[in-house]
Symmetry: C2
Subunit: 320 residues, 2 copies
């Protein structure tokens, strides 16, 4: 939002993806920067030519059904669990805290900060103690921790699997039929199309329905319905992409190790490094117009996304 025609309000919370702000601060056009501050696959699923009707018509029920059917199959959603496509996992994260009366919610830190922000905004008390809700990010962002079903507690059980598509064996999808459970999937990260705004909520039918109703009709765009369906029906692309990300993550770890940084976690979409002074590293990379991620709560943590094939040389030069 904007009030009057003043400078843009920066995002309230610390996030990756602020390469436009980095360009304002350090110079250069946005396009001249290499953005490694996110966990988005740099080789996205190909955007096909779209029929004009995807843009012009209200998104239709058939297109939504095709997408949700492809998603069920791709993630092996158990029978009895509901699924709903949403305009980005963030849209669901912002609404989930409204699905139950505010109480105490357990969100193990550190993790993706929108969960705590959303629950707090809805009047919940957020902490490490068990309450009537819990949120696990699986694998966790930024450290890559894998959780077990037993780590959940409370009546409302949220599992954010935004980064789980690189490690499908780590999914807690078998929890989807347990009452009170909601599993989030993100389309933007693994398929590399974060600008499209597409995600999924899977789980307890009553909660999924309540969330869906709260988003209003036609929540997902026509292009997102089509591109999402094509991508989720393409198992070969997913298999190939997982392999490539795994080998690229190993290459990045070796490159960083040579430069004096030790990999301590992450997924194959982002790597977490332990360094003596993360801000120094961020500044050094920024002088080469490479944007990275540091964390306000840990001065030794530096997170890097994976470079696209044509960007390795630039990163290697910056670290030389």
């Amino acid at each position: 939002m904007s009030v009057d025609q003043v400078a843009p309000k920066s995002a309230k919370r610390d996030h990756g993806g602020g390469v436009d702000a980095a360009a304002r601060r350090f110079g250069g056009t946005r396009d001249s920067w290499l953005d490694l501050s996110t966990g988005i696959n740099p080789l996205p699923y190909d955007v096909p030519d779209l029929p004009a009707s995807d843009w012009t018509d209200l998104p239709d029920e058939n297109a939504r059904l095709r997408l949700e059917t492809a998603a069920r199959h791709f993630w092996n959603v158990p029978k009895g669990a509901a699924i709903c496509a949403v305009p980005g996992a963030s849209a669901a994260i912002a609404r989930i805290p409204l699905l139950a009366a505010a109480d105490r919610v357990r969100i193990p830190e550190p993790t993706y900060n929108e969960h705590a922000a959303g629950f707090a905004a809805a009047g919940w008390q957020v902490g490490a103690q068990a309450g009537s809700a819990s949120v696990l990010v699986n694998p966790n962002n930024p450290d890559g921790r894998i959780w077990q079903a037993g780590d959940l507690d409370g009546a409302l059980r949220v599992i954010d699997e935004s980064f789980c598509d690189v490690t499908p064996e780590a999914t807690l999808m078998d929890q989807a039929t347990r009452p009170g459970t909601l599993i989030l999937k993100s389309f933007g990260k693994f398929w590399g199309l974060a600008g499209l705004r597409l995600g999924f909520v899977i789980g307890d039918p009553a909660l999924v329905h309540q969330l869906s109703a709260g988003l209003g009709p036609w929540a997902v765009s026509g292009p997102a319905l089509r591109i999402g369906a094509l991508a989720l029906e393409d198992q070969a692309w997913a298999d190939k992409t997982r392999e490539r990300l795994q080998s690229d993550a190993a290459r990045l770890d070796q490159l960083m190790l040579n430069a004096g940084a030790e990999a301590i976690g992450g997924t194959t979409l982002f790597r977490l490094y332990d360094v003596a002074n993360a801000t120094d590293w961020q500044m050094r990379l920024a002088s080469h117009r490479i944007w990275s991620r540091v964390f306000p709560y840990n001065a030794r943590w530096l997170r890097l996304g994976l470079p696209a094939p044509d960007a390795w040389q630039r990163l290697e030069r910056a670290l030389a």
Copy 2:
């Protein structure tokens, strides 16, 4: 949403845009139908070639600022009013009832049914009596009624101007700085890109901020940010489009008059006709694979959107 792999749930409420359901019922592929059941401009704003980053990157603050600045200028948003781009006016309609404690809301009938549904779902008592909130659709859907500022009452004052871009002189934008006021704008209808999912909320900064926070970060897609900005900066297109829609609406009224239906309202994006039996008319048009809109509360009302230039002949044949 879907539960298991059963047939799609049809929309809970009666809407235009159900041409896929019409095709299932009456036969033919979706593409073989002429959809006149909505109020969407059939000659959309041209979708430009999009840079890959609109799809791949998290939508950035600069792009959002450009869009919101263009929107401020296009709609003459008064200084002191806030503006926030949202993924479709429907997203805002679903959330607005959460911005105040549930009480009684006045929504003059008949009108677009998502407002009453959203307020009722949030626990409000919806009716014709004054309460702590009121909603006006200006011009009203489906009858085209134009409202005045004095018709609003209550602390939360919602003005849905989704169809006002064909009659900019009817806007109540001067109310945007009045505390408690929210004005909705839709991008999909006048610019003919309903699949894009873009709308705006304008008004009381505290309420707009609350609504924006509830949508989560990156609510609007990269393509919507760019296409919306280009379109709202293009005043010549808007002027030309208003003229064409006006002349096409007159042509449609004359055609329908010749066929025995009298225009009794609407805007130049949709026309409302009084007929002896609206369902008979809908069936007759459906036999030519033309989909129209009837209303459960009035058996004499038939609503038609405007045909594209190449579709007039088909409508003329169906009515001959």
